[in-house]
Amino acid sequence: MSRSELPLAELQRWMVEVISHGPDVEHSLQRPVARELLRPDEVAALIKGPGPLGAVAGVGIYHRMYQLRLREALEIDFPALQAALGKERFLELANGYLEVHPSRSWTLNRLGDDWPAHLQKVAEPWIAELAQLELEQTLAIQSPASPRISPADLAQIPPDQFADAHLRPIPSLRLMVAEHDVLRLYLAYRDDQPLRPPAPERTRIAIYRGERTEQFGLLEAPFTMLQALAGGRSLGEAIEAAYPEPTEADAEELQASLADWTSRGLFAGVEL
């Protein structure tokens, strides 16, 4: 027997369930969760579409807008991934992700948070790594502003306190390791160069927000040191972690790295 109305909570769950799944509304109406709340043959008894359109067409308007809005949010946050994969593959992966990770936040800024982890399970490894790089950039953009120390501030640390000093990283600093050179791929996208799938190559990347979002690659020892500093270890501890038996060349690399990082503004303060 058809129902003449639905309790408000059931109606709302049905509607969000229907518009947020499936390639089209006809398929999503048939999903078990949706059918349990409202059978497809009951829809027309409860809902009226706009103008001459029927009930399902009316729900379909909301379904299309939902799908467009969420795909567009992923396109905005993962533009290099879309460029590297092409629109069709990007959409296939996006649709697969959104089926199992519908939006649960009021903001679409967090929609892609789980996409790299999802891609690790369903796509080639470099695809997940490029997505991770773009996610880190989004997180850097959303980080709060903070003051930055200069190379001159660093030079003022008394020599006898240098090893115990802590360099507080700016909130937007993000570090990641990839097993493919996705940084090169990303930079090629940014510079409008031809895109090719990246070669296997361990790549250590720092991402931060300056005047715009910046990203650069690091060698193993400087990356270890920056990671240790970002993790709250003192300068002495970070140097020990990166250069357990430092050579003269290591010392030069270390000094050059510190100068580069402070000139980029990667540190918000020094704690002695």
């Binding site: 109305e5 706009p50 809005r69």
Partner: protein
Amino acid sequence: MAEHHNRWGLPNLGLGLGLRSPHVDQILEEQPALGFFELLSENYLTRAAKPNRILDEIKERYPLVMHGVSLSVGSTDPLDLDYLRQLKALADRSGAAWVSDHLSFTFAGGQNSHDLLPLPYTEEALRHTAARVRQVADLLERPFFIENPSSYLSFKYSTMAEHEFLLRLMEESGCGMLLDVNNVYVSAYNHGFDAAAYLDAIPGDRVVQIHLAGHTHKGTHLLDTHDDHVVDEVWALYRRVVERIGPVSTLIEWDDDLPNFEVLYAELMKAKLHGGGALDVAI
């Protein structure tokens, strides 16, 4: 023309625009004569530096109001108290004269639709929504107003018309209304009701702000797309409202296919030809 009064003693801020980032540099440099700016609340609920810098500079020069899309006031899921706390903090920081959101629900079953989904206009929905509106107003500790939605479906088991639902909602919750004239036009076309009768039924002292916008004709129905000029029929409805209740703070919503600032400003100034305005507000 009538002189407008509202129950909250809030001023007519004149003619305003939504604050959109592509226009910000020009606005700060030229400081155009505008009564107010409307913040799309969600764009400023961020720790990112740029929106906060823009907010700080604009609030020094113009009155602000806040308009959101994520409150989900009609939802049967619990209110998102974290979102509400952020909203209140933004209102306190921006000095917004009032906060508004829509008569709709956006999330259910823990999922967010990111759309303004329509409610059935029933006693159950009325009781539920009125209680939530009171709760929101208490938490925000500042005037909170509900905007009538545009919609693309209706519920056959609704027991009252949309404007009747709004009237009772305002009475039972104590809130006022952001009257979107384009939304009335769009929904009237889509659902076959009389837009003028709807507008005539809204008490003037409940209305604190008016929205105008463009829409898209899809052949079978209208979509509220905010991507074009306001059509003549909506201007005529606006004139009808203003003649009856007096000039009210009025804003053009234009979000997609955003034109240059001059085009947007010229569109807003058309409101003066239809009785809107009061640009003598101090800036």
